[in-house]
């Protein structure tokens, strides 16, 4: 049976580490990196990429619009 799989791209340099995407993600895909970006923020990244279903909730709540979302059927 076809399964929906998603993949997000985060512009880590522009992420401000607010964590709202992480909290919004329904599948637990997103976590905050241990490293910081050039501005000193722990940026968001898809820590568990296999869980991503491409719902785009993260992108929708991101105040800085740093997330791009892709989705396909596998």
């Amino acid at each position: 049976m076809a399964k929906i799989r998603g993949s997000i791209v985060v512009n880590a340099e522009r992420c401000k580490g607010c964590e709202v995407c992480m909290v919004t993600c329904p599948t637990g895909t997103i976590a905050m990196a241990k490293e910081v970006n050039g501005k000193g923020y722990n940026y968001a990244y898809p820590a568990n990429p296999d869980l991503c279903i491409g719902c785009a909730n993260c992108a929708m709540v991101c105040p800085d619009g740093v997330i791009t979302v892709y989705k396909t059927k596998i």
Partner: protein, 259 residues
């Protein structure tokens, strides 16, 4: 640009589900991490994009954190004096009625210094959209009390909490505007969850349609957070907002046109 990505094989143009609209410029937003302004801007930009309004839109920016709104959306802008945006928008719309004219204002702009301009533009039923970002505090100037600050809420000018005996009660401007015959569509939304983002987008889209029909003033209030002013993390501030702001400023439509 440093990017972190999920499964690379899925990242193909034909699989694209969501990308930030090109109506948003490349400028980095000046807002604090987690601030609802950024989300609200983006929703507005998406509507302008989807409805093909770039060459029709004229926005009026406020004084407040979003004073530089004109750096972020690629449309024509006018910067208004504090609170005066509805008056500025009145003239624009009266002189250029075919354009999509809107204001974007904070709680000090709309409900303190701009109270008269807000009420009278709505009372005249000016065919404009007023977007009202209500986070119960004056962010840009460092976290002072706003007309919409909740009773007991601390701010830099109410360090012991808002005392309604000396400082008055929070002012529910949106409720007042909804009582005016000139207002056509008045609603209160938020942008802190994906579901609410979708509802807010729907509300703004409706307001765009109503403006084309010359029906009167539309006011979309967005109850939002101010992590810096409230001295919380973004995630904490959204939770606090749900628990404290929403009971006072309940989400939903206050006035809808008769079907």
């Amino acid at each position: 640009m440093v990017q972190v990505t999920g499964i690379k094989e899925i990242i193909k143009p034909e699989n694209l589900v969501y990308k930030k609209t090109s109506i948003m410029t490349k400028n980095i937003l000046s807002y604090c991490p987690g601030c609802g302004h950024g989300t609200a801007h983006r929703i507005l930009a998406e509507i302008i994009d989807e409805e093909g309004l770039q060459s029709d839109a004229i926005g009026v920016s406020p004084v407040g954190c979003s004073v530089f709104l004109y750096y972020y959306l690629d449309i024509d802008w006018q910067e208004a004096a504090h609170g005066r945006a509805p008056a500025v928008a009145t003239a624009i719309k009266r002189l250029m009625p075919e354009k999509f004219v809107f204001t974007y204002q904070g709680d000090g702009d709309l409900a303190a210094i701009g109270t008269a301009e807000t009420i009278h533009a709505c009372n005249r039923g000016e065919n404009i959209l007023i977007i009202f970002i209500n986070n119960g505090i004056y962010g840009m100037t460092g976290g002072q009390m706003a007309p919409t600050t909740l009773p007991g809420m601390k701010s830099s000018t109410s360090p012991y909490g808002r005392d309604v005996r000396t400082m008055g009660n929070p002012l529910k401007m949106t409720d007042i505007v909804a009582t005016l015959p000139g207002s056509y569509y008045v609603t209160r939304q938020s942008v802190h969850t994906a579901a609410n983002v979708k509802k807010t987008k729907k509300a703004i889209r409706k307001a765009v349609q109503y403006q084309k029909l010359n029906k009167g003033t539309c006011l979309v209030e967005i109850v939002s957070n101010c992590p810096s002013g409230w001295k919380m993390t973004p995630v904490q501030s959204n939770k606090w907002m749900e628990e404290n702001m929403f009971p006072y400023y309940p989400l939903g439509d206050l006035k809808t046109p008769e079907e």
